[in-house]
């Protein structure tokens, strides 16, 4: 019990605990509570470890240290990849793209008439290019529509049977197209009269249309076409298959479209195992890329078309 002296009444009067004391007490309590809370949290964070924390800490440590190990391995792998990519590029350029002159030069070479500043010649060339573009467009469309149409008309079907219209080797990639190409041996430009289809030795070569085997040459020569088949399909169509490993048909034999007639080889004047495929119409060499319509989707055809335009090194 506390008292306060009241100077007016000159008496000691009872007094409660002043609000200031209360405030001080409560503030102190809150302050100490916060301090203790922080202290406990700090202790928990630094000294006390729950099993979960121990496991996590261990895992994190392992994750961090092995991250370095694995990423250094990956870095080494990355270096290896870029080294291989470099080699890959070098190999590709030697094997397929080896172009002695620059592409532009080669192209101007292939359009030699254009060098004459003759109007008519230039117009003719422009026209020719337009025709070629139209032809390509037409082929695209025919690829698209042939899927939907060619089953319906029996007579078209029959005509198609005797028109070269498939890729003679399955899963082959086109290594070199028709036209002025670089010779693998003397590196000069020459007229490449067919397309080169790249496939492993021994891959089956199919007749691209039904017809009669016209010519068979089993040649031991290490120049020219090597082992070689020529098939006559009627309607002026002739196809030639060169550098074969084995010939599986006889002269005069009737063959059907898709029939295996031989295997891919490296005979004759060939730089690597491949099929050199030619299509002739009325005695004139045609660009066989326009006769590979069936069994290819648009994408695969487009890929072949692009590859066939590259003025690179041929394989024979």
């Amino acid at each position: 019990m506390q008292f306060v002296f009241n100077p007016k009444s000159l008496r000691f009067e009872r007094a409660g605990i002043p609000w200031g004391n209360w405030l001080l007490g409560v503030l102190a309590l809150i302050a100490f509570t916060i301090l203790f809370f922080a202290g406990i949290a700090w202790l928990d964070a630094t000294v006390w470890e729950s099993p979960e924390e121990i496991a996590l800490r261990k895992e994190n440590k392992a994750l961090a240290s092995y991250y370095k190990v694995v990423s250094s391995e990956l870095n080494e792998s990355k270096n290896l990849i870029s080294a291989i990519a470099k080699k890959d590029e070098a190999l590709k350029s030697t094997l397929f793209d080896a172009i002695l002159h620059t592409t532009e030069e080669a192209q101007t070479n292939s359009f030699e008439p254009g060098k004459n500043t003759n109007d008519i010649t230039q117009k003719a060339i422009a026209l020719q290019q337009q025709v070629n573009q139209l032809k390509e467009k037409a082929i695209f469309n025919s690829v698209y529509f042939s899927k939907h149409v060619h089953h319906h008309d029996a007579s078209i079907n029959r005509k198609l049977l005797f028109t070269p219209s498939i890729v003679p080797v399955e899963n082959a990639s086109l290594a070199s197209g028709f036209g002025k190409r670089m010779h693998p041996f003397h590196k000069g430009l020459y007229q490449h009269t067919g397309i080169d289809l790249l496939a492993p030795k021994g891959s089956a070569v199919m007749a691209t249309a039904s017809g009669t085997v016209n010519v068979i040459i089993n040649s031991l020569e290490i120049a020219g076409y090597g082992n070689y088949i020529e098939i006559s399909h009627g309607n002026g169509f002739i196809t030639r298959y060169a550098h074969l490993e084995n010939i599986l048909v006889r002269k005069g034999q009737q063959v059907t479209k898709g029939q295996t007639i031989g295997t891919v080889g490296n005979t004759g004047g060939s730089a690597a195992p491949h099929l050199h495929y030619e299509v002739l119409l009325d005695g004139l060499e045609q660009n066989p890329i326009f006769y590979l319509l069936q069994g290819l989707n648009t994408e695969a055809y487009e890929k072949m078309l692009t590859a066939s335009k590259k003025q690179n090194q041929a394989l024979d």
Partner: protein
């Protein structure tokens, strides 16, 4: 603010100034602290029920961060895997078939890995580390094998390009200088009887002094005067090919000299048993005479031929 306080002392019957002893203060403080400690503990306990210890939060955060980094590593690894598969596919399906080499067997590619990967025991508990490390090590191994394979391919290609450069592939006489080409190769007529000794090559009629070009890279096997061939040069091209150039007025290469395709080796003449100025040109493959006509059947244009000769003149580099 604070007025002087008094307490009533019953013994002295006086109001005495209020005085708080140090002991009392201490006791009060202790009680206060005890209370606050209990309060703090209670609060922390409730905090743990709803939230997590700060370090656990931090640990979980860094764990998440680390795992996202590992995810990036795994993405990178996936990318590398596709690269590797691209290389393997090219190796197996493109280069090996072209170079007529057998593809690497799967066992060869995986040799040295498999069960004996250097995976430490301590990471076995963490599948993410174990798998990634195993994959990374295996990938590096496979890439190393692939790199070696590409080195091998490079060697094969070098041989191949050398082979291509060595093969007789052009006409020994420039078309502009050629007067007439006699297709006198007799092998096709009588391949069995052996009388093709007389017609073992082709005859290029050209004026005396017309330059004769080596038709492929090679080494001069011999260059001498013989009664029958006159001044003759033998070039060994390697890979089974040999060419012979006869009846020259003179040759300008010596035995053992290396020649490039398109290099002038001599000049047309009428020496030896020759009935007129011409070049007698022979191509042999593995010791057998073959018709040289096949080695330039798809001929170059004059312009191209000149370009080739120009290149041969300037080109001193070798392919290996």
């Amino acid at each position: 603010m604070f007025k002087q306080r008094y307490t009533y002392n019953p013994e002295t019957c006086h109001y005495e100034p209020h005085f708080v002893s140090g002991k009392k203060v201490r006791n009060r403080l202790m009680v206060l602290m005890l209370f606050s400690f209990l309060l703090a503990s209670g609060c922390y306990y409730f905090y743990l029920q709803t939230g997590e210890a700060i370090d656990l939060v931090q640990l979980k955060q860094s764990n998440r961060r680390l795992k996202s980094q590992w995810a990036l590593l795994q993405d990178e690894m996936k990318q590398q895997k596709t690269e590797l598969q691209k290389f393997i596919a090219e190796d197996d399906q493109l280069y090996r078939p072209i170079l007529e080499a057998d593809s690497l067997a799967k066992t060869e590619r995986l040799a040295g890995v498999g069960g004996t990967l250097r995976i430490p025991e301590e990471v076995k508990a963490y599948p993410i580390i174990e798998h990634s490390l195993a994959n990374a090590l295996q990938m590096k191994h496979e890439l190393t094998v692939e790199y070696e394979s590409f080195e091998q391919l490079q060697k094969l290609v070098n041989t191949k390009t050398k082979q291509w450069a060595s093969r007789p592939a052009i006409q020994p006489i420039d078309n502009q200088d050629l007067v007439f080409l006699y297709g006198t190769f007799g092998m096709r007529l009588n391949p069995v009887l052996g009388i093709y000794r007389l017609h073992k090559g082709l005859d290029f009629k050209a004026k005396t002094g017309t330059p004769i070009y080596a038709t492929g890279d090679g080494e001069v096997l011999d260059a001498y005067y013989s009664d029958s061939y006159g001044n003759v040069v033998y070039i060994n091209h390697g890979f089974g090919f040999e060419t012979r150039y006869a009846h020259m007025v003179r040759f300008i290469v010596n035995k053992g000299e290396k020649v490039k395709r398109g290099q002038v080796i001599g000049y047309v003449g009428n020496t030896g048993t020759s009935a007129g100025e011409h070049l007698h040109y022979e191509v042999l493959y593995r010791g057998q005479h073959i018709n040289p006509i096949h080695f330039f059947q798809r001929d170059l244009s004059n312009q191209e031929y000149q370009k080739l000769l120009e290149l041969a003149k300037n080109n001193n580099t070798t392919l290996d």
